[in-house]
Symmetry: C2
Subunit: 218 residues, 2 copies
DNA sequence: ATAAATATTTAGACGAGTCTAAAAAAATAT
DNA sequence: ATATTTTTTTAGACTCGTCTAAATATTTAT
């Protein structure tokens, strides 16, 4: 059985490698885990010995099939708990991350299956991220960055790429939520910010940075 | 902030001391924590340094007011989670303990308040144990051991003292659950077993051991 | 192609929580 | 009241995950 820490490393490796499609460097991992490179090297050896990642000195790590399965289980748990917190307990979408980081480590397959059923087998969490099913399958979603959306094309907000509380609160304030209709009216040459129109004719400007954190339907 | 381990020790001390009304010996604690006396001595020093218990060498430990408050918070969390698992997720009452042992350590006061609200502020968990409120107040319940119930007196099953899965499964099988009406028809002199009558006229025999694990209304 | 800068690994140490074995204190029995 | 048994504590060691400092490998710049 994996420790809390091993699970966190694995999840991080999965995310940093874009689901296993590239190698992850020691320093990247150290940064994302808020730890030191030396500690990462140690943990890499452990995970490697368990065949959850493959490791080549001075090159980086790649997640194995087995490691990917573990990572997806943790991600599934995280996203189911986030969904529970928002849809059942009434949390806001910017309040759930830290609690879900804890809940994702609870060990009970039965619990997760029952929770999934209780929630009605949701396919996406409150931030619009797909929830892997019990076999680790993720529903592929077609989406593009808001920055790449054609002018005047009607679209829908599908997910946030990075969901820090302050960003989510900002989205709340300007009326952006998962599922809202959206259209880009104009692209400002100067700073790349966008004038957008939301459901109900609401027009707002958002920065290029914010727009590049939003995924919308094609 | 307390570690997972410190919380478990504190909870154990609370229970073994009957809510703080007597000192707990090192060996008792070692037994209940499934560890060795030497390890207990070490942890005792830690908790003592944090003023959660008071400790006299070769005598035992007593929980302090502060320690009691911590213990009650953990017990509150445990029982709320058990209630959630049974009433919302459809677990059986014999399946919830181990998962709740994990969930009770999740750190989020907001989570517990929201969970409490979601469950409708329950006052007892699936085993009939009182759930402390957010201030640590426990509803006092009048109850006696089934072994002490007068013959032919109508009563109601209120809680199980010790709730191992196998005991709970046995209760299921013979039709005993929290809230069922119960009456002692006869006490067998030989082995102390009881012939009881449940709601719906069902008559069964239960051993003295089983009966001394059941609490009923006076 | 060599020097400088950057990234990674090794070596050795630490704190938390645990253990075993031995010492010390307390309780019990004769 | 002394010897024996039981309980508790101390001493020292081990694992896990972490750290700093130093060594080594790789990359980048000139």
């Amino acid at each position: 059985m994996l420790s809390f820490t091993e699970e966190n490393y694995l999840k991080s490796i999965y995310h940093l490698s874009n689901g296993g499609s590239k190698a992850v460097l020691t320093n990247e991992l150290a940064e994302s885990m808020n730890t030191k490179a030396a500690s990462v090297t140690d943990m890499i050896k452990k995970l490697s010995a368990k065949s959850l990642i493959s490791y080549e000195k001075y090159y980086g790590v790649k997640i194995t099939k087995q490691g990917k399965a573990e990572a997806l289980t943790i991600i599934r748990k995280h996203r189911l708990w986030e969904t529970f917190l928002v849809s059942k307990l009434g949390f806001n979408w910017d309040e759930v991350h830290d609690v879900a980081e804890q809940l994702e480590h609870i060990q009970s397959a039965l619990l997760i299956e029952k929770l999934d059923e209780f929630l009605g087998y949701p396919t996406a969490d409150p931030h619009g991220h797909s929830i892997p099913d019990k076999h680790g399958k993720i529903k592929a979603v077609r989406h593009i960055l808001l920055t790449d959306l054609l002018l005047k094309k009607k679209s829908t907000v599908q997910s946030v790429k990075q969901g820090s509380p302050s960003f989510l609160q900002y989205l709340n304030k300007i009326g952006i939520y998962i599922g809202v209709g959206i259209m880009v009216l104009e692209r400002v040459e100067f700073d790349g910010s966008l004038e957008i129109q939301l459901d109900g004719k609401k027009k707002v400007f958002i920065s290029r940075d914010a727009a590049s954190n939003l995924m919308v339907t094609e």
